[in-house]
């Protein structure tokens, strides 16, 4: 990553390609094993009626699906806003206002996720999926926005010059050179955003958005440790899986020829 850019990007690299490879394989295996063991334990122990109401395949699948759905919606919003906004903010005419947008996104991330969620609820009085997804998207927008900007800014200016010099239009240079070369950083940002989103989605139940947070909440309030553990382990497992998907995207969607 270029050290000359004033804005630094988020990096998800461990510094060793071999370690990354091992992780790519080991991470999903570990998740499947741990989640499997916990589920086997939860389903085979003698559950009382309150526990049984939560610990059943239909409910767990529903909650997991809600959680995944929030994450997907957030990812769509973050990519849909962060990448185009980042592209616009790197145009020479928009450079002066870039720090303003970065500052706004910074506020989104600096404020506690729960606070953003509740304030948004109080302001709009919405509830459900969108009431959860929109503030979470605001909260996790920064990595994608910032990495898009940094990624485009760190493209070698000689390549932009070469592109223009041989007759590419400005949009040609942007879409054929700058954006493709920024893709690795954009994907690293997306992966960070996704991890933030999947973690924060456990708070969605506060605004009636569902998700695995509901199990944690139920287990806690009704003092049923098994429900709490199942909810928490599923949430952690999902976060690790999402991170793994992010790693896969980084591995296979990046431009060829760079290494």
């Amino acid at each position: 990553m270029s050290s000359t850019t004033e804005i630094q990007g988020f990096s998800t690299e461990s510094g060793s390609r071999r370690a990354d490879r091992v992780r790519l394989f080991a991470q999903p295996v570990a998740v499947v094993v741990i989640v499997g063991l916990v589920l086997v334990w939860a389903f085979t122990r003698s559950n009382d009626s309150i526990e049984a109401e939560s610990i059943q395949a239909g409910v767990l699948l529903d909650k997991t699906w809600e959680h995944v759905l929030i994450t997907l919606v957030v990812a769509a919003i973050v990519v849909g806003i962060g990448v185009p906004l980042g592209m616009v903010l790197t145009r020479s005419w928009a450079r002066p206002v870039a720090p303003l947008f970065i500052a706004i996104a910074n506020i989104g991330q600096a404020a506690p996720a729960l606070g953003v969620l509740v304030l948004f609820f109080l302001w709009t009085e919405w509830d459900g999926l969108w009431a959860a997804a929109l503030p979470i998207a605001f909260y996790s927008l920064l990595p994608v926005l910032r990495n898009t900007i940094v990624g485009i800014q760190s493209v070698d200016p000689a390549l932009v010059d070469a592109g223009k010099g041989i007759g590419m239009s400005s949009s040609g240079v942007l879409f054929r050179i700058e954006v493709p070369l920024a893709v690795p950083l954009i994907l690293a940002g997306l992966r960070t955003s996704l991890v933030l989103a999947v973690g924060t989605a456990t708070l969605a139940f506060f605004v009636n958005g569902g998700g695995l947070g509901e199990l944690v909440d139920t287990g806690y309030k009704l003092n049923r440790v098994s429900v709490l553990v199942v909810g928490a382990v599923l949430a952690v497992g999902l976060a690790l899986l999402v991170d793994w998907v992010g790693a896969l995207l980084e591995e296979y969607l990046g431009p060829k020829g760079l290494t």
Binding site: A158, L159, D161, A162, G163, K164, G165, I166, G167, M168, S169, G172, R176, I177, P180, L181, P255, K256, G257, L258, T259
Partner: protein
């Protein structure tokens, strides 16, 4: 002039570039005619505005005022992108797109011009052949998988892909090692012999300018033209102290690289003898008759073999092994610099050979110094008359 010139004339008239917020313009009132089919080198110290001047020709930088025509067409009236598709552009370190293969890089401009796929593909192979890269091997490689010299070749191929009449080159060989640079320069000259484009070439290396340029423009601050002439004329007679300083020490030595042995009066009066047809005693008699102390022994195909001193002959039984072997030779194609090197290492006389390696004469140090002297006088007379 050769009839297959594909380049066109470029004219810059009173071109000025003034950046907002600066008192002095970066390029001031620049007027120059770049003849069709020639290589013109803009050379000058860093920051003198030579790159800015070149980049105004394809309008990567818009001139503040003035007129630029390319082949009679007003460059400032065209759409900038359309103009740049018709002007080849090659830069330092090639500027290849790292995520495009070699073929994709070369195909960019034909693609922008909407050529059909088959035509582009054929053109890519043709260009790769032209710059000496085997398409079967390199077509699908990425730039990172090529050496610096190979990348630079692809850069030139990309610049030439759409067959533009004009080629702008911004220190294209600045980032490669000296040996590769020499090869690339030779290749550019070979290409130019075939293509006859109008090439504007920016460099800060005067030796490169001398080697490549049909004409050289030495530029000072704000791109003011200090001298615009052939390399020979600039070397023989620098217009002012600034040019002289830029030419640097060794102008005479540099001049030697511009002259070929065939262009100078070398001697052809050495006593020669063809080895199988003659004996040491015959040769000795001939040498005494003509008053020569040295003779050159040739083989049956008249190729120079050995130098013989008259002293060596008294004891020798055959000419095949007498005297000492001929060392460095030069051909009529060689530069005077090569000739001087051979003269120095041979210690007086260097043998000149023809196209098939046969003896045609000898050259010595006075031939070289006389030639330089004569050039000086010609250019002095020329500038005094004008």
């Amino acid at each position: 002039m050769a009839e297959n010139v594909s380049g066109v004339e470029i004219q810059l008239e009173n071109v000025t570039k003034r950046y907002p917020g600066t008192r002095e313009p970066a390029v001031k009132d620049f007027t120059m005619t770049i003849p069709a089919g020639k290589i013109v080198i803009l050379v000058g110290p860093s920051g003198c505005g030579k790159t800015t001047t070149m980049r105004m020709i394809n309008r990567l930088i818009e001139p503040s005022s003035g007129r630029i025509t390319i082949g009679g067409e007003d460059a400032l009236k065209l759409n900038g992108d359309a103009l740049r598709r018709k002007v080849g552009y090659a830069i330092q370190q090639a500027g290849l797109f790292p995520h495009f293969t070699v073929a994709q890089n070369i195909a960019v401009v034909p693609g922008l011009l909407d050529w059909d796929k088959k035509q582009i593909s054929e053109r890519v192979d043709e260009m790769m052949d032209l710059v000496g890269l085997d398409p079967a091997v390199y077509r699908d490689r990425y730039p990172r998988q090529l050496s610096g010299g190979q990348q630079q070749r692809v850069g030139v191929a990309r610049a030439l892909a759409a067959d533009p009449p004009v080629l702008l080159m911004d220190e294209p060989f600045g980032a490669v090692d000296p040996i590769t640079r020499g090869n690339l320069q030779d290749e550019l000259l070979r290409l130019q012999l075939e293509l006859r484009k109008t090439i504007v070439f920016v460099t800060h290396d005067f030796d490169e300018a001398v080697k490549l340029g049909d004409k050289i423009a030495v530029l000072g601050d704000q791109s003011t033209i200090q001298q615009y002439d052939t390399p020979e004329a600039i070397l023989a007679n620098p217009a002012n102290d600034m040019v002289a300083g830029f030419v640097g020490a060794g102008a005479s030595l540099k001049q030697l690289t511009l002259l070929r042995v065939r262009d100078v009066d070398y001697h052809d009066d050495a006593l020669t003898v063809v080895a199988p047809d003659s004996s040491p005693s015959d040769l000795r008699r001939q040498m005494t008759e003509k008053g020569k102390t040295y003779a050159l022994v040739l083989d049956a195909r008249k190729r120079p073999q050995r130098w013989v001193h008259v002293r060596d002959l008294s004891t020798a039984s055959t000419l095949a092994s007498v005297g000492r072997p001929v060392g460095d030779m030069v051909s009529t194609q060689s530069t005077l610099q090569d000739a001087l090197e051979a003269i120095l290492s041979e210690g007086g006389n260097a043998v000149v050979t023809g196209s098939r390696g046969e003896y045609v004469g000898t050259i010595d140090i006075t031939t070289v110094t006389d030639t330089i002297q004569q050039l000086r006088e010609e250019h002095d007379a020329g500038s005094a008359a004008s």
